[in-house]
């Protein structure tokens, strides 16, 4: 019977008896969740007997619900959905072999949660604004071509688009710097993806101490009020999905 893995748990917390915590807790497809432990770390698993196709969003969301429920009680590292292991013995061995790595990551996220932040814009309006502000976007044909050819206009347009993209990246770099400054007191770990789409200027995640959640939301709210042309979308709090740095091959 195969096992589905949910999360790696820190059980080094005096108030927590891991067996009591999982007593009655159901996993996906209604299976009982149980823990396999080594020292002060456990792995939450359940049996999985169905041959039903796992690629549907309901099961993935149920899986996330289990991780969310566990994260309310203990510090954990979420495991990517769809991770099946053949036997309890192999799960146990996995825990022993990678104990140090699990422990190090658990310490990193202890008493912390994750927030997502997307910074959005209306691309047409925003790019015009950036163009108007950035002289660097101006393209003088004489800088590039001594004579006009049938390709000149096409190439100039391409150069202009590239310059606009450069200016947008520069703007986003400054935005990241400003957000970091705004969050200095909260001091979260962070990861940023720039220019995900034309409308999503920034896709960021932050690892915030649980007792600073409200402070974080307030800081982003204040920052947003200084940026009329942008929309800020905050999601969370989440278990620390984006701050786990473990790949086991």
């Amino acid at each position: 019977m195969k096992k589905i893995i949910y999360a790696i748990l820190s059980t080094n917390q005096s108030h927590t008896d891991i067996s009591d915590l999982m007593n009655g807790m159901k996993g996906i497809m209604g299976a009982d969740i149980y823990a396999l432990s080594f020292n002060d770390i456990s792995i939450a698993v359940s049996d999985f007997t169905s041959s039903k196709d796992l690629t549907n969003r309901e099961l993935a969301i149920d899986f996330a619900g289990v991780i969310e429920a566990l994260s309310q009680q203990v510090t954990l590292l979420p495991v990517r959905f769809g991770t099946f292991i053949k036997t309890d013995e192999i799960v146990q061995q996995l825990l022993i072999n990678h104990y140090d790595s699990f422990l190090k990551n658990l310490q990193k996220v202890e008493n912390k949660c994750e927030f997502g932040l997307k910074v959005l814009c209306d691309y047409e309006t925003f790019s015009h604004k950036i163009s108007a502000q950035a002289a660097a976007v101006e393209v003088q044909p004489s800088e590039y071509f001594s004579t006009n050819t049938i390709h000149t206009n096409y190439l100039l347009e391409k150069i202009k688009i590239n310059k606009l993209e450069d200016s947008l990246f520069t703007y986003v770099d400054q935005l990241i710097e400003d957000i970091s400054l705004q969050l200095t007191q909260i001091n979260p770990d962070s990861k940023y993806k720039k220019m995900v789409t034309n409308s999503i200027l920034l896709d960021a995640v932050f690892l915030v101490e649980k007792n600073k959640k409200d402070e974080f939301i307030q800081a982003i709210s204040s920052f947003e009020q200084q940026h009329d042309a942008l929309q800020f979308l905050v999601t969370g709090s989440w278990p620390p999905y984006s701050f786990v740095d473990i790949v086991i091959e």
């Binding site: 195969k2 969301i61 800020f232 091959e249």
Partner: protein, 71 residues
């Protein structure tokens, strides 16, 4: 209008959940793992995300709380 905002918040929450459970967390691969296909789910997620965030104009700072949406 209010219903629209709620629906978009729900869509965004679902996308954010799917993005996390499918693409993040501890990755375990190799012979001990029986893998599953994930590509269709990821595709749906990205499409939904772009649709949802690009039409969310009603509120400037939007806070989506997964605890509320998953119930």
């Amino acid at each position: 209008m209010e219903e629209n905002v709620i629906n978009q918040s729900k869509d965004i929450t679902i996308v954010e959940i799917l993005d996390r459970v499918l693409n993040k967390g501890v990755v375990i691969t190799g012979d001990i793992v029986i893998s599953v296909a994930e590509i269709d789910l990821v595709y749906v997620g990205l499409k939904l995300l772009v649709t949802s965030v690009e039409t969310m104009q009603e509120k400037r700072l939007t806070i989506v709380k997964p605890d509320q949406e998953k119930k």
